[in-house]
Amino acid sequence: MSTVTPSTVTPGRPGTTAPRPATRPPGRLRRAGAVIAGIALAAAAVAVQAAALEQEDLVGNLTWTGRRGDEVVASRFSARVTGVHGAKSIQTTDAADKVEKATTPGIFVVVEVGATAHREPQRFGPPVLLAGDGKRYTATDKVKSSLTITEPYIQPGWWSESVAVFEVPVAALTGSRIVLGPKQGLIGETYLPEVEIDLGLDDAGTQSLISQAEDVYPLGGRK
């Protein structure tokens, strides 16, 4: 026994009965061990796949969340929602006193937002209304962007106040949030900061927003 090492075993040779019982059990054990190790590796691979990053995690923005009325502090700017209004139509007056009235088969949502920058001036891209069911509504183009929060440079030191206007079906209102972030440059930047502010529209809030929706909501013109 003591002189036999696995490397010297030659299984095909009959007559050397002593090493056989010593080498067989390790062979079986090793095989079982290999099977178990294989299964474990495969299971680990599957587990790692399940933990892989979703596309949203890979290329999405960095999101700071908050609620209506909160001052939500993101990395480059802070923002807050001060009011939410419903409207059946929106009447805009541009600098040349030209009046236009936009209507919708759904409802207009006018969100009053304020923002300030931390270090460098910021400019917002088109705001998005993120509905409770995950659908994304880009701010309506029926209101010129010059009348909304995307127009001004958001400066450090004071708050700029403006509106974001969305056109949505009534069903999209409950649980909706506004998503606001800096304009994406020509070369796409990953991990842009953005804020996601809950508009506070629960069932009751949605009902009152609809029932109190103004027939004509005026925007722009000389104040």
Binding site: V59, T104, G106, G134, K135, Y137, T140, E167, V168
Partner: protein, 217 residues
């Protein structure tokens, strides 16, 4: 437990490999007999008329009508004549999309508009068709999810050009979940005829609309 030298027991015949070969050969034979690995022939595109709706997966489009329109010139010129196509488009996707415009002269269009793959007979001009959503006071270019919009595409007719009796549109379908190697957002992608690279977009339906004569004749 050791077998006697010389191998007294019956040797097991190695049958697994020949059996597997036989099974594979049979399977390949049946596949070949049924037409091989080539794709099954496609259904021909549906032939539809006015009022028909085409399911484009991300959108539901109703082809309402086509007509000629005359737009007088604000400054007393001759005005412009258009062939107009009216659609009712419902966005079934989960985000706002742009109307874009149909392509012309074999070039692919933009955004939603590129799903009108081909127009017969084609009306081309320098700037291509004009597209808008005009029914709600202020023109828009947006198709919001869950909403139905009246989309109008206008093809300008040249001086003295007669509008055709009928126009036919080849209508494509959008891929609801396009493959993206980098994970980047590809936007609206049309489904192709086949998986081959550079395959032409799939024609889901051909919609023929009679052109109603407006004041432009």
């Amino acid at each position: 437990m050791t077998s006697p030298p010389g191998g007294g027991t019956r040797r097991r015949r190695p049958v697994a490999v020949p059996l597997a070969i036989l099974a594979i050969a049979t399977g390949l034979g049946i596949t070949a007999a049924l037409g091989g690995f080539a794709e099954a022939p496609k259904e021909p595109p549906k032939q539809l008329g006015p009022g028909a709706a085409v399911d484009q997966k991300l959108f539901l489009t109703k082809f309402v009508a086509s007509r000629t329109v005359f737009q007088p010139d604000e400054y007393g010129g001759e005005g412009k004549r258009f062939l107009e196509v009216e659609l009712e488009v419902t966005n079934k996707g989960d985000r706002t999309e742009g109307v874009g415009s149909p392509g012309q002269g074999g070039k692919q269009g933009l955004l939603y508009g590129k799903s009108l793959l081909k127009m017969t007979p084609e009306i081309t001009n320098e700037f291509g068709p004009i597209s808008m959503i005009i029914d709600e006071g202020v023109p828009s270019q947006q198709l919001h999810p869950g909403m139905t919009s009246a989309v109008v595409f206008r093809y300008e007719l040249a001086q003295g050009q007669q509008a055709p009796e009928n126009v036919t549109f080849d209508v494509g379908v959008f891929d609801p979940d396009p493959d993206s190697v980098t994970g980047a957002d590809l936007g609206l992608i049309l489904e192709s005829e086949s998986d081959a690279k550079g395959a032409p977009p799939k024609v889901e339906a051909k919609v023929t609309l009679p052109v109603q004569r407006g004041e432009a004749g």
